[in-house]
Symmetry: C2
């Protein structure tokens, strides 16, 4: 814990300070916008950006992760809490905070149980489809505040403000950095300054609303913000806690997947090491801290963490500085926060989630593995059609289904001897010689419950097409593990072959696999022998 602080060197400070300031300026509009996505008062987005990153800095292992509000997790919060309480009610806020507590407690428990390996539960295509589907749902949900009315209607002044802000933000995404470079700014600085456009557009919108008196024309603003620090309130019924249990677990799962995928891609860039079990603890504690702040579930955000990284963050001190600046912003006069125009905030949300519409994974998968591309499309469609909660379950089912499906089609090669050598190769790819009384199969997969049935079937199929075989040699060079189910499967195969007087022999069993097999009675019961190599097996069985 805090290893980064003990070994802190002064040289790291400039990077951390500048990243801390940049992320704080990015966090103010983003935090408020994502609070709106969660169906909560904008200021709770700021609350969610102070304690949680501080707590994460204590327990987490990523050097550049920025923990706080995040679009998809906010969408899930709205979907879950919206079923339990009317939007805008006091109960709604309380339940959102409770949801953070349930998710956080679940993450802490998983961390204690060392379940960090679950970070690999989603395939990349499934994660990508889930992200794109969620981005579409979020963007679509912001059309009403952007235009000031339900489609196909719009409220003129609101729509003008919202669409104007949208245009400015889109243009600044593509043109602001080159423009700043043309004005003589260094490339890195220009790129980072361009990321502050949302803050400027929001302030510009605020000025316009005040100067032109747009509020009187019906443009909605964020409304009164309580000053000072948030209040903790958890007085709900036990029924509410029970109702939050299952969705809270789902939120915790998504929090972990999103945060790990952001942290891993940044850690790889600097060859840093993450400890996934400590990440669970860090994220869990951050969500508990978010509950204490009266906020809502938080996670590490890829877009914000990338800015933190690019702005020079070297350690979690950058996040500490961000949190400090936001705390100062909260205790300073916050009256202006009440005047932010909703259409402009909606525009910042839409532009932020447009950045999540990444189609590269789909394109690559389409060329490389049509099944993975299908998983992408089904997950994305699942989120859009069934909602974000069901979308997670669709993603889990598809990831696991793909796994079992691939496992159920193990590659098994019939081997023959390359004439005059000790080499055995796949007879479909090499001119290798076979003998009618001997069948040699190489199993190209680890044996486990997902494929042992298919392996048995394939072996029986091969024996049917080689009816003269009296001995079967399984070349185990590609088998690195055999689980209990597969051990039983091999035992059944052995018994079945023994009834037909066919010998079952193993060859090239790897050291660790052989060590394990000795703990079972398979070697004793084997209706054949275990050979060091396929060549020795064939020579012995021919002799």
């Amino acid at each position: 814990m805090l290893a980064w602080l003990r070994s802190y060197r002064r040289a790291l400070l400039p990077g951390d300070v500048s990243a801390g300031i940049v992320v704080a300026m990015m966090m103010i509009p983003q935090g408020m916008a994502y609070a709106l996505v969660a169906g909560l008062p904008p200021v709770t987005g700021i609350y969610a950006s102070i304690l949680p990153p501080l707590v994460y800095a204590l327990f987490g292992t990523s050097m550049t992760q920025s923990v706080g509000p995040m679009a998809i997790v906010s969408l899930m919060t709205a979907a879950i809490v919206g079923q339990m309480a009317p939007a805008g009610s006091a109960l709604y806020s309380v339940l959102a905070a409770q949801l953070a507590l349930v998710a956080g407690a679940m993450l802490l428990l998983c961390g204690v149980l060392r379940l960090g390996f679950l970070a690999n539960f989603f395939s990349r295509p499934v994660m990508s489809g889930f992200t794109v589907g969620s981005a579409l749902v979020i963007a679509f949900g912001q059309l009403k505040p952007l235009l000031g009315a339900d489609l196909p209607h719009w409220h003129g002044p609101s729509a003008a403000l919202g669409l104007g802000a949208l245009l400015l933000l889109v243009l600044s995404r593509s043109h602001l950095a080159p423009l700043l470079r043309a004005c003589g700014m260094r490339q890195g600085a220009a790129d980072i300054a361009a990321r502050l456009a949302p803050m400027l557009v929001v302030l510009l919108g605020l000025l316009l609303v005040q100067v032109l008196g747009l509020e009187a024309l019906g443009v909605k603003t964020t409304g009164q913000v309580p000053t000072g620090l948030p209040q903790l309130n958890l007085a709900t019924s036990p029924g509410h806690w029970q109702q939050l249990l299952q969705p809270g677990m789902l939120v915790g799962f998504v929090v972990f997947l999103i945060s790990m995928s952001a942290a891993q891609s940044l850690a790889l860039k600097r060859n840093e090491k993450l400890a996934s079990n400590r990440e669970l603890v860090g994220l869990g504690a951050a969500n508990v801290a978010s509950m204490v702040s009266g906020a809502f579930p938080v996670t590490g955000s890829m877009s914000r963490s990338a800015v933190n990284f690019a702005a020079g963050a070297q350690t979690p001190l950058a996040s500490v500085i961000t949190a400090g600046l936001l705390a100062v912003a909260l205790v300073a006069p916050t009256g202006w926060l009440a005047l932010l125009p909703m259409p402009v905030l909606a525009a910042t949300i839409i532009v932020a989630v447009l950045g999540m519409l990444e189609l590269d994974t789909l394109r690559t998968a389409w060329r490389y593995d049509r099944g993975d591309a299908l998983a992408w499309l089904v997950t994305g469609a699942g989120v859009v059609v069934l909602g974000v909660e069901a979308g997670v379950l669709v993603g889990v089912a598809l990831s696991m289904g793909t796994l079992i499906w691939r496992a159920s089609r193990p590659h098994i090669a019939v081997l023959g001897r390359i004439a005059g050598s000790e080499h055995f190769r796949n007879i479909e790819r090499y001119p290798a010689e076979t003998r009618p009384e001997l069948l040699v199969l190489r199993i190209d997969a680890n044996l486990f419950f997902g494929n042992v049935e298919a392996v048995q079937q394939r072996i029986e199929d091969e024996l049917r097409t080689h009816p003269t075989a009296r001995n079967l040699v399984l070349a185990m060079s590609s088998v690195s593990s055999i689980d209990t189910t597969a051990l039983f499967g091999l035992g059944e195969l052995n018994a079945s072959l023994a009834r037909r007087n066919i010998g079952l022999h193993l060859a090239e069993v790897k050291g660790p696999v052989m060590d394990r097999l000795r703990d079972s009675d398979l070697p004793q019961r084997l209706n054949g022998q275990i050979f060091l190599s396929t060549a020795i097996a064939c020579d012995t069985l021919a002799g």
Copy 2:
């Protein structure tokens, strides 16, 4: 469809006829008992044993599977329907039939979508723990009808009858077959005749109740049985259908897992081939037929199918004969069915499920793989503590969790050259030579989303302990597939190594894997070369 009928030979008939008769005599007490487990009138168990096996014979692929009521599926039915309607009500019966329809429709849909590979979703330890846990729950639930009152009380005459039947059944299990053999019966015939003990004990109980007038003393009997064929009644509200959707899917899943595990173990004994997608259709249609019969969810039963097999069943004609005999029993006078004593039926249930208390899997797993043993124990405890529905979910989570956990610890070996040879081996197991500027790693697992992160981490770890390495060779001899997620992972690794001027080379890439990689841009982007063998890679990189 009906391939077995088209190629039917007369020589198969004697086996099918005798098996059909034996299973019918086994089915009458068993069907009624499992209907009681499901919380339904005993006669529905007979209904569930006529149409469903006939329909399965049309669509299924197993030659010896006996489809009908089964203990665990009946337990699930009671758990699900018991939450929605009072036991004994007309609604209860209707909902049980609807549950069969939902499960059947789900199975048919999965069959059409060719999802038969899902039969491998449970590891054997998880399936075994689930079965044993369910058997304990069922047996415990029968203590009340066995003793005629809630523990610790009992009703004298009922308890005497029930415990007497239990003793007789237990003794007949162990001693009846040897006794019959001692009386000169052939071993096979004796074994099968012994399986009819429950039928005899039930009839004996019926006689006793009548002769001694036990009903007047308070011994409960099964009660009035409607004569003739069952009536179809599905008039419930849409809300009921919706409520049954999720549990129905769970029941369908369990129906498929149980039936496939029975069918597979029998098919293996005769080297028959099952088509899992057609099994889905057969089981789905059988459950729809069970709904039409006014019954409840059905599946293939291991214990009954084993008797069918042992009694000589050669084709599904045996099941057709069984169904015909049961239909005859139903249209014959059925008044006697109303007089069966409940304590005796409870005894048959307890003895039947005691046969499911199989601890061999746990014992083997405990010696061979402690993690699998733990999965057994947690699943079994999950069923007992949380109930059978939650137990299925615990089983899914554990099977999938084990899979991801194992995948997250791939075996990777540092290779060295055996002096003076072209062979490269694990330096931990062989005296092999390495060179400081070259790191050779063999990846012993197929690369996919579950392990690519761990592989990246291991490679980075090895590079940290070999800081002088300028070239990294990945020996891919054990890698039979690379999914889209792993393809991205290799691309990231390549970019990361390129930034540090470390060459990334692949060697011994299998033919099918190389074919697939050519569909991606990895070969072009690779910061190194692809070599045929590790030896060529090392010679080239040294030169």
